[in-house]
């Protein structure tokens, strides 16, 4: 029979100890923090806000060419290449949420405000422009990132 080595003897002793389990209060708290459940509502809320912001931005962009045209009417625009440049009119936009990254929890040092989780969202904005009425739209895409606060459940 093989004699146990000194290390094996100590490891056998260590095996008598088992890590103390979390108490009931902590276990309840951890179960309530289920990421699969708490993710959905804040994400929907902030996605909605982000979508509204994009709609507002698109509306502003749609208004700008119209304002330029109004200004051009009042001027004696000289004939030449400048007047023949195509005007890009945004006719459609699509936003795709590509990634959500958890940046961590922040809390003010005074402890007077609830901590919030910061998430970084990465979007691809596709904007379709029409250079001439009835022509096929031209697509431009750009990546946009936003850091958003998400309220945490308090226990």
């Amino acid at each position: 029979m093989n004699q146990p080595t000194p290390d094996e003897e100590i490891e056998k002793l260590l095996g008598r100890l088992t890590p103390a389990p979390p108490d009931d209060a902590l276990m309840k708290r951890l179960k309530a923090a289920n990421p699969d459940r708490s993710n959905i509502i804040p994400m929907l809320r902030w996605t909605g806000i982000a979508a509204a912001a994009v709609v507002a931005l698109t509306a502003v962009m749609l208004m700008r060419p119209a304002a330029k045209k109004e200004m051009a009417k009042g001027e004696d625009a000289p004939p030449g290449p400048a007047t023949t440049l195509p005007v890009k009119v945004p006719v459609e936009s699509r936003q795709h949420l590509m990634e959500v990254k958890d940046l961590g929890i922040v809390q003010d040092t005074s402890g007077q405000q609830q901590p919030v989780r910061l998430i970084r969202t990465t979007w691809v904005d596709e904007i379709f422009y029409e250079t001439e009425p009835g022509s096929a739209p031209v697509k431009e895409a750009r990546v946009r990132q936003e850091v958003l606060p998400v309220a945490l459940n308090s226990y």
């Binding site: 002793l13 100890l17 088992t18 103390a20 276990m27 951890l30």
Partner: protein, 163 residues
Amino acid sequence: MPSSSAPSNDWNAWLAENASRFLLFARQQTRCGQDAEDVLQEALVETWRRAGGRPEAALVFATIRRRAIDLGRRTDRRSQREQLGRETELFTLPPEDEDAAIQLEQALKHLPANQREVLTLKFWGGLTFVEVATTLDIPQGTAASRYRMALESLRQTLTATLT
């Protein structure tokens, strides 16, 4: 590998299976019980989200360690005050051999912190030396030698009392 098809209640099952060993490490990495619980919750939620389900144990331990360091920097003075006079029960002791287990637990508490964290990750955390080294940001050989030194130190301390 994280299980991508885990049902939503898998979180509870995962907690039941693993919370004890993660809590042990969180308690050793922080200065008070409340900090340990905060760090534990933050790390568990973060790693679960990042993995999209059950994360690797090594990732959880590494995240606990990072979050504990962050918290320690933010709340250094407060935690030191709270630590005074507070003793957390780290282990469940076997009733049939409680005296020996208590002596062992005391010996563990007197190990140098860098040996104790390696021992905890290897023995109760179930990590390999490679994973321990990655978690603690140390070379693999250092992890192995700290483990052996911890066992040797415990053996010397306990020889007189347990033999």
